[in-house]
Symmetry: C2
Subunit: 330 residues, 2 copies
């Protein structure tokens, strides 16, 4: 069991320690990397030694954060995890196994946080871990400089789909305002994060749209990418995450499904739902989990069987919704 | 010549007047309509009479603003224009001609504002007219209620591409935070404004990606839609405009071309370029025109000939850029 900390207690721990290792989650996204980057530079600003460890390579697009990654010369005395909801999400590469067993402090915004660290600062209402750090870093007595602001803006912008997702709250915008005042290069960052797509990425979108199928009178839309397609495109698996918002973005669709075949053949299924349909209930029978509007599971089998299995659950959820008197207004 | 007003002077004019007509620009967007909506409800909250006039129909997607549109029973004593940069932008339908000649007050954020009103409040640094009104309405002594907040958020979100465009500043995010605190239904609005695409629209995107071709070592990307494809999709031609940003959004592409065949067979060509390549120069020889980064022309002929004609001009522009020492950094 973890001890849940106030923000000030988390700050005091960080201030008291040195030689700090910062852990990211596997398949790193802008929020875990941005959080690590901002915290790394904040600790450095206090004269401390720090390094960042992630079990997967950090995508090149985030090179501007200029992180110092862990090497074995570094002997950490304190381990902090940022944006990592559970032990499994650390992954197993590099030296992660060694350090992820004894996390001193976890800073996170996932309601599902598994309380694996000795101490945890959790704000499940925050849109991003970087939103938390926008408040926490100044409490450490560190002024957010333009570079830290870039890191923090990255996490907030990517985790909220640039302020579109339902997780965006007034405090999220207030944090963005703070970061712009601190000198975040928002125009350049938005261009890197959102505007430019690689040819590979465009190719994946083409394949995704080509595979698009509708079910249950167009109330369910499904995208399916085979492992051959994903491999042929050359897009790293981690960068396919936001394809999962495509099917639910179609007018009238209440359940959006994205099937991505994994290298060993199984299918990773992402379920996105409108309000009134519990995404996590849809995947429960298939051994998955998640949130009310976004959940996932992984199934072995032939593509047609996998599709049939998830569609059976979707049908059940749609029937349940109809029995309850239809979709709640968005 | 107009008198440029402080915000407090603009507020005093609005407070002193009654029976106020609010004018929008033609082809109304979220900012002009949102501004009109918020101002209308703020004036109503003060017990005043008001109405909104636009020379084009207000798109149904904005119905939630519940505006009272002008009818001839209403005899305005004071005319306010919101988000209208010049006289020509009023359009000519309805009774607009009558009222647009004598605008008492213009509230705008366009640096190009033509100073056509008797009094003008201009903030050319504001990302949206609604950003200005988020500050102005409370100065009128009106508390922004959730409905006004919805109107104001609409203008800010649409004019900034949901906080992506370079016009977004710290104050823009601060305004969004204020509006969320005031009860704006941001989740629902983002879904209406940005997330939902019609099936027809998704089909057009699929066809566009399917047609995607690269030229000149991938420095030019071209999308081509035939009139049969456009007709089959059922998407109104006006809603295809933003497809034109697709090719230039691909990494490394310096010239993005979008060919849309018109009902009579000719091809409308949209040219988008990176900084350093003049889009309007590319189309000049083909009888077109436009701006430095976005231009267009229309050519008759077989698809292959049309493609060859525009590609010849693109090749010339790329050569010119190379001779000048390559692309200017974005």
């Amino acid at each position: 069991m973890t001890e849940y900390l106030e923000m000030s207690a988390a700050v005091n721990e960080l201030l008291a320690e040195d030689e700090i290792l910062i852990l990211c989650h596997k398949n790193p996204d802008g929020d875990t990397i941005g959080s690590a980057g901002a915290l790394y530079w904040a600790l450095r600003a206090l004269g401390k030694t720090a390094a960042v460890l992630c079990s997967d390579p950090i995508p090149q697009m985030y090179n501007y954060m200029m992180l110092e990654t862990y090497s074995r010369q570094f002997k950490p005395k304190f381990v902090v995890a940022v944006d990592v909801a559970s032990m499994q999400l650390f992954g197993e590469n590099n030296d992660m196994q060694e350090f992820s067993q004894n996390v001193n402090l976890c800073i996170d915004h996932h309601g599902s946080n598994a309380a694996y660290a000795y101490g945890t600062y959790l704000d499940a209402d925050a849109a991003a871990c970087c939103e938390i750090l926008t408040e926490l870093i100044p409490m450490m007595g560190v002024t957010i400089d333009p570079h830290m602001a870039d890191c923090l803006y990255t996490g907030i912008a990517t985790d909220t789909g640039c302020f579109r997702f339902a997780s965006t709250r007034a405090k999220t915008h207030a944090a963005a305002a703070t970061l712009m005042e601190a000198g975040a290069n928002v125009e350049e960052l938005n261009s890197i994060l959102f505007e430019s797509k690689s040819r590979a990425r465009v190719e994946v979108e083409r394949m995704a749209l080509e595979s698009l199928e509708y079910y249950f009178e167009n109330r369910c839309a499904m995208v399916c990418l085979t492992k051959e397609q994903i491999a042929a495109s050359g897009v790293p698996a981690a960068e396919l995450e936001d394809i999962t918002s495509l099917p639910l973005g179609i007018e009238g669709v209440q359940v959006g499904l994205t099937l991505r075949q994994q290298p060993l053949g199984s299918y990773k299924i992402s379920v996105r739902t409108v309000r009134g349909i519990a995404a996590n209930e849809i995947v429960t029978c298939l051994g998955g989990g998640g949130h009310g509007r976004a959940a996932g599971c992984e199934i072995e089998g032939m593509q047609e069987n996998v599709k049939a299995a998830i569609l059976r659950e979707v049908e059940r959820a749609l029937k349940k919704l109809d029995e309850q008197g239809g979709e709640l207004s968005l």
